[in-house]
Every structure is written in C-alpha cells, then in structure tokens.
C-alpha cells in the first residue's frame, strides 16, 4: 500500500494532555475527599431531606407572586443598565478595536477584577451602601452583567472581519464612527444572544442575591429554608423553574426572529 505513514507528532502532545487531566483530577479528588462509595452508600441518608421536600406546598404559591415579580424587576434593571455599560468595556478590551495598548491593558484588568469578585460580594457591597433591598440587588446585577457580557462580547468583536472597519477609517471616518458602523453591527447578533443569556443568568443570580437580603424571591427562600420548611422550598424552586423555562422560551423566540 503506497501511503505516507500517519504523522505521529501529535501523539506526545495528546498523551501529555491526558496525563495532565488525569493527575489534576486525582489530585483534586483526593484534596476534597471525593469518594464514590461515600456518595452511593449514604444516598439513602439524603432521601430524608427529599421526603421532607415533597409534595410541594401549593398553598404557598400565592405568597410567591410579589417576590417573584420583584426578582424579575431586579433582573431587568440589572440586565439593561449592565448591558449598556458592557458595550464600551467590551470595545476597549477587544485587541483589534482598542485605541491603544494602555487602554486595552487597563480595561482588560478592570474586566478581570469585575469577574473575580463574586456576585454575592457585590450584593453585600451595595446592600451596605444603599441599604438592604431590591435596589442593592439591581446594582449588584448591573456589575455582574457588565462582567458577563463584556468578556463574551469582546471575544466576538475580536473575531469580526476587519475589512469594513478599516474601510471606514480609510475614507476618513473617526474611531467612534468605525466602532459604531463598522464593528458593533457585525457582532450585533452575538450581543443580543449574550444579553438574553445574561438576563437568564440574572434571574437565577437574583435568587441567590436574595439570600443576603438584596430583595426578590431569594429572601423568602432563605427564611423558609432556615425554618426547615422544605415543602415550601420545593414550591419556590418550582416557581423559579417555571420562570426560567418561560424566559428561555421567550428569549429563544426573540433570538430566532432576530437572526
């Protein structure tokens, strides 16, 4: 058979990758005390909690309407404000669009700091600054949204075709015009789907934020859990599930219409 032998150069590379993944997993598993036997043997112990969680307390639903709405309101404000602020942050962090290296470097680090600090930190920060309640939650989600969208969007912007922006520059357009007409529209579809993704994340994040007193359905969740009312906890989770499913349906249909 006259056929060049299969190149083997990648073999060593892949072997290295596999060894790295395995050793990292073994090291981590040992570090956190991962044990399948423990998980399987004690599975029945967990069933007590699950039995207490079922059936969901349907009567509790009536008291969930207002907090649920508040959660949605918090998420809307956080997504809209954060979504707007994310655009300049993303543009300056895109290697191909940023005016100079210094701006790029500073913005990139700013983005990283935003993403490093957990959403709960922002919630506590703003709760201390403006008092417990939904406004603190909305502010925290604003920062969280900027963190999520700017990173994803700047990556999309880096992969756009530079022909159009360069053409705008070539005919004497300003930097701002280049961004506005040459760069942003190309990644618009990505932006829309990231914004919708951030909204979905925010709905769930605002549940968590409620746990530290930033308003919404999470506050109810925390009080019921603290009182061991697990049937009510299940009800709350179901309510969140329905909300998440509905929002996904809507955002998917919007995405489909816009693309």
């Amino acid at each position: 058979m006259r056929l060049a032998p299969r190149p083997r150069k990648n073999l060593l590379f892949w072997l290295g990758v596999i060894v790295f993944l395995l050793s990292m997993s073994l090291w981590s598993a040992r570090g956190i005390g991962f044990s399948l036997t423990e998980l399987v043997c004690n599975l029945t112990d967990g069933s007590r909690l699950l039995r207490e969680s079922w059936p969901p307390d349907l009567a509790f639903l009536a008291r969930l309407v207002d907090p649920m709405l508040e959660t949605v309101f918090i998420a809307v404000v956080g997504t809209v404000v954060g979504g707007i602020f994310a655009i300049p942050v993303a543009v300056l962090a895109a290697r191909n669009l940023t005016p100079n290296r210094l701006t790029w470097f500073a913005d990139r680090n700013f983005m990283n700091i935003l993403r490093t600090l957990p959403d709960l930190f922002w919630a506590m920060l703003f709760a201390t600054a403006v008092g417990f309640g939904p406004v603190a939650g909305a502010l925290a989600l604003t920062v969280f949204t900027v963190a999520v969208i700017s990173k994803l969007y700047s990556e999309s912007l880096e992969s756009i075709d530079m022909g159009l922006p360069e053409a705008i520059r070539a005919v004497g357009g300003s930097w701002l015009q280049m961004i506005q007409f040459g760069a942003l529209p190309q990644a618009l579809q990505h932006y829309v789907s990231y914004a919708l993704y951030a909204f979905e994340l925010n709905i769930r994040a605002s549940v968590v934020l409620g746990l530290v007193g930033a308003g919404g359905i999470g506050m109810i969740l925390e009080t019921q859990r603290a009182n061991f009312e697990y049937e009510r906890v299940t009800m709350i989770i179901l309510a969140v599930l329905v909300a998440v499913l509905m929002i996904e349906e809507v955002s998917e249909s919007i995405r489909k219409r816009l693309t």
């Binding site: 058979m1 006259r2 060049a4 299969r6 190149p7």
Partner: protein
C-alpha cells in the same frame, strides 16, 4: 491495489412514484422509470424541477407519498430505519457542497463511507478493521489524492474536497452512486476533471451513476442517457448524444441562455 469487489446489479425502478411536500409543493409526479445496472444517467431540468428529489428518493432521504421505488427488486422502505440503512450501505451519495466533516482528516472522512460496514462499537471507538482501511485507501487512490490522506479536509481546495466526497462514496463499495449537482460549486477546469472521474469510475467499476447537472453542454458531453424533468414530471428520456436544442427547450420550458452553458457563463 485491493480489488474493488464490484457489487452486483444496481438497477433502479420507479413505479408510479409521486412526492408531494407538506407545504403542497410537488416534487415528483407519477414517475415511471427503469434504470439498468451500470448506466450513466444525467438528469437535467431547471431549478425546482425535482432533480434532487429524484436522487434523494432513491436512497430514501425523501420519502415517496405514492408509488414505489425499488433497487434490484427490493422496495426502498422509508419506514424501517434498519432496512433503510442496509440499502443505503450500497448507495453512495455525492453532494454539491461536499459535506465533509472539515475538522477531520481526509482519511476519517473517507472512512465514514465504511460506517455501515463495520460493527458499531468499532466505528464509535475509531478502531477500523484493516480490510476497511485498505478499502478507504483504495478509494483515495481511485481519485488520486492519497498524498492528502492525513490532511484536514478544511485545508483542501474545492476540487480536492469533492474528490474526497467521491472517495467516501466509493469506500461504500456501492452498486449505485447518486451525485447531486457535484460540480455546481467548482470552477470550469475542476468541473471537467470531476466529471471525467465520475465517468471513469462508472466505466471501471460498473457502478450505476445518476448525476444531476445544471449545465446543458456538460450533460451532452458526459451523459449516456439523459433524463429531463419539468415540474416533477418526466419530459425527456433518451440518449444524451442525440438530444437536440428543441428537446432542451421542452425540458426548460423556455429558450436556453448562456447561463445554462458552462463554457459561456464562465
């Protein structure tokens, strides 16, 4: 070179076959057609005339809504996926847009033609039996791109990609090859090379070959038998060598223009 075992026969028979799409469009209308083993058939017609529909009915990608299509006397059973897979095993298909998995090597793409011939677990784990690998290499040899075997499909030119597409079909050791506008995305020079490849393979291996073509001059040059479709109906069935301009006018329902000829539109 290992011997391509010539699969026996490869006769296709449509009987009163019709396809109406869910949106009411007619893809095929009362088609009666007999194609003999080893024939090289060119199918022409304006776009939407049902050329693709006809090819895709042969391997069950489009299901008939009426009538039957049979291969070597066995009806194509679109309702049983197991039977359908068994029949498709012997029917190679070549696409206008090549349909290669771009991130995989040429060799892997050709081996996709062996998927139905090897045990499922072997195909899942990328453990191809030696005979099947040899069949794949043999298929690559027939289209003359063995030197590209370990190159990623995405790095090939259009003509090379279509050759891989042909090799993938050949790796099936088919009795029938369906080529759906195989040269529509290629430049004129490559177009002639690919058409010559298809004719040569038809002659060498006796594989029944059905080719959809848009260009009339290509149909004349390479076809043996020519079939003309219009609105899903058979309007011409005869020799490609003796077909007249008048016949083409009938098939297309209009005077043909320069855009229907490869040489003039290029």
């Amino acid at each position: 070179m290992t011997q391509q075992t010539p699969s026996p026969a490869g006769a296709i028979q449509f009987r009163n076959a019709s396809i109406t799409y869910p949106n009411g469009a007619i893809g095929m209308k009362n088609l009666d057609l007999q194609i003999e083993p080893g024939e090289f058939v060119v199918i022409v017609g304006s776009s939407g005339a049902g050329k693709s529909t006809l090819l895709r009915a042969v391997n069950g990608l489009n299901a008939l809504t009426e009538g039957t299509v049979a291969i070597d006397g066995e009806t194509v059973a679109t309702h049983s996926s197991r039977d359908l897979r068994r029949m498709r095993k012997r029917i190679g298909m070549i696409f206008q847009d090549f349909r290669l998995v771009k991130r995989l090597s040429v060799m892997s793409n050709v081996l996709i033609g062996r998927l139905a011939h090897v045990p499922g677990w072997r195909a899942m784990l990328n453990l191809w039996p030696l005979p099947d690998r040899e069949i794949a290499i043999d298929a690559l040899m027939r289209v003359g791109i063995t030197d590209k075997a370990w190159v990623k499909a995405s790095q090939l030119s259009g003509g090379q990609q279509q050759r891989v597409g042909i090799a993938r079909a050949l790796a099936q050791q088919p009795s029938i090859i369906l080529a759906d506008e195989p040269v529509a995305s290629l430049d004129p020079v490559t177009t002639h090379q690919i058409m010559k490849d298809l004719v040569r393979i038809n002659r060498e291996l006796g594989i029944t070959t059905l080719v959809n073509l848009h260009f009339l001059d290509l149909a004349r040059e390479y076809g043996d038998r020519l079939i003309g479709l219009r609105f899903g109906e058979l309007v011409f069935d005869g020799s490609a060598k003796t077909v007249t301009d008048e016949d083409f006018r009938n098939i297309y329902g209009r005077d043909f223009t320069e855009s229907d000829l490869l040489e003039d539109s290029a």
